[in-house]
């Protein structure tokens, strides 16, 4: 049976970048829910009686499943907790579906599950339901974990990607690219001195931000696959605004930048798993930044740009050398199986 190349799913369709967006918009989300591209957020909002819930899911296929700073288990907890937190929801309950390759080490599984439980306990969420499948050797790669999460909105704030307005400030909670570079170094056996995933649960930071700035917090997003650049481009498109960045203000760890320089990677496109981007109203920006810097996960937080009334969907960046650069979404696939 011959098959046309354009009928095939490519690695880039899972990148979080342009190809992912097209596949989601044209096929997956269009078929499953009928929702449009500008209505896609990190989690769904649901009404259960008078309670507002957030509901989200993520599959984790990270290679290797154990890496500096975490495992696929803690990563799966953090990622799902963060998707709920980005809707302003307090994460409460997680599910855990394991797909394990026959022959996987039981003691390694125990290590991953213990790490998962510790991450859940630290984030004050409970893993309340689960499922385990085993597939024959060679039919999966070691272990895949899909976590879903349910959280509760304890306020009536409206925090979503279409909410950015001209004049708003863009805050990044810390340095870029730590997760992606740490995983890649572990996979490739590169010397990893100083490299460590930033994988962390962000609800504690978000809770402080909401207490400080309330409705001044307009958009929250965690820049995972596709990195800071892709996430900002999504926000600019969803909100129909222009975002202007100042590269000099964007924190990058020197060892991450060094690996990126050697390999020709751009940290703006590398995945983070313990960072958030916030678009906030101008009057709350400075006090909120100060509050964030008091939190361990926001110590390096910085205002990295502003929302402007320019071309809708455009992201521009003043570079460190003073030039102006157009920022696009990740095209193709930079680092597969990073989460």
């Amino acid at each position: 049976m011959s098959m046309k190349t354009d009928d095939l799913i490519l690695l880039g369709h899972g990148s979080g970048g342009t190809l992912s967006h097209r596949l989601l918009d044209e096929l997956i989300v269009a078929t499953l829910s009928g929702r449009g591209p500008n209505e896609q957020n990190d989690a769904a909002l649901l009404a259960a009686g008078s309670t507002r819930l957030a509901f989200t899911t993520d599959g984790y296929v990270v290679d290797p499943p154990l890496f500096p700073g975490g495992t696929i288990g803690s990563l799966a907890v953090h990622g799902t907790v963060n998707d709920l937190a980005m809707m302003g929801a307090r994460p409460l309950w997680l599910s855990c579906a394991l797909i394990i390759e026959e022959g996987f080490s039981r003691s390694r599984l125990a290590e991953i599950l213990t790490d998962m439980r510790q991450a859940a306990d630290s984030a004050q969420v409970r893993i309340v339901t689960g499922d385990t499948k085993v597939v024959p050797r060679g039919k999966a790669d070691q272990i895949f974990i899909t976590t879903s999460g349910v959280g509760v909105l304890e306020h009536d704030l409206s925090i979503h990607g279409a909410n950015a307005r001209p004049g708003d400030r863009v805050i990044l909670s810390g340095s870029m690219g730590d997760h992606g570079i740490a995983v890649m170094a572990a996979r490739e056996g590169l010397p990893a001195a100083g490299l460590c995933s930033d994988s962390a649960a962000l609800w504690g930071l978000v809770e402080q931000m909401l207490a400080c700035a309330g409705s001044g917090v307009r958009v929250l997003r965690d820049p995972t696959r596709g990195g800071v650049a892709t996430t900002l481009k999504e926000i600019a498109q969803q909100s129909g605004v222009m975002i202007q960045l100042d590269e000099q203000q964007v924190p990058v760890a020197s060892q991450v930048q060094a690996v990126c320089d050697i390999l020709g990677l751009d940290p703006f496109y590398v995945a983070n798993e313990g960072k958030l981007l916030a678009v906030v109203s101008p009057e709350v920006a400075e006090p909120l930044l100060a509050a964030m810097q008091q939190h361990p996960l926001g110590a390096q937080a910085a205002i990295i740009g502003t929302v402007e009334d320019g071309e809708p969907g455009r992201v521009r960046m003043r570079t460190t050398v003073g030039g102006m650069r157009i920022v696009e979404m990740l095209a193709g696939e930079q680092l597969p199986r990073i989460c």
Copy 2:
């Protein structure tokens, strides 16, 4: 690196039978939630404000992903809807996490997703959130789908596996083994005349059962992996009762029985995806059976046994030839990747 055999995860650990139970009890559930073997149900019950929710997840790795009577897409909807229904919860919202092998056909993906959406529409649930990962060729087998579901309990009934009492009747909603045998025939290229998965959403049937029998419905379970035998053994153990079956009363389609006879399979251990087992109080059993038989998914429902005050956890069966047989859980793996 050498590794002891008993450190390895085996196919049987995903069977739903004895090995699965041991892995769950000793490692997975013990580590992730700390809950004991008798507290495990198809879904978790949660309180969100004054609303009682059910929350569940299942990973689907069925091979092949398209089979007579369904696809991995509709199966993933039905399975998760049914796990909620077995708690007496009205299924409302689903998540869908896809793990796709690079090179998978986009048109086949479209077929699966369309089937998934139709199943969701028929079951009156909405797919509200999702995630898509793509892994390199050879690192997964075509497509895996993990669905999670949230439902609402609209009553204060207590329906769970530890609820069976001596004197109760055991009802099976229809014939055994259709799903497992249809998938196996499709996988092995066996002549499949008349073989069709029973994959279906059971909430409509459950809703009618609750309206008819209310608190007379004590336990609901869908006998998926491990089949009717394993599920009844679980109920007997959780409730600390004995269950006595009458093989003559248990419906099996003749073509399913024929394939089982040829291959040496026991339909009591073959997976179903559109059937339920109910343990009900004796006074509601007959009217409830009549009500179930009015529903398309319960047309062949039958009272197949009784709960007795015998050895706790024991399941016995009077065979068609008049003998008495002890029914145990599935040991090892009979049909891998059946769901």
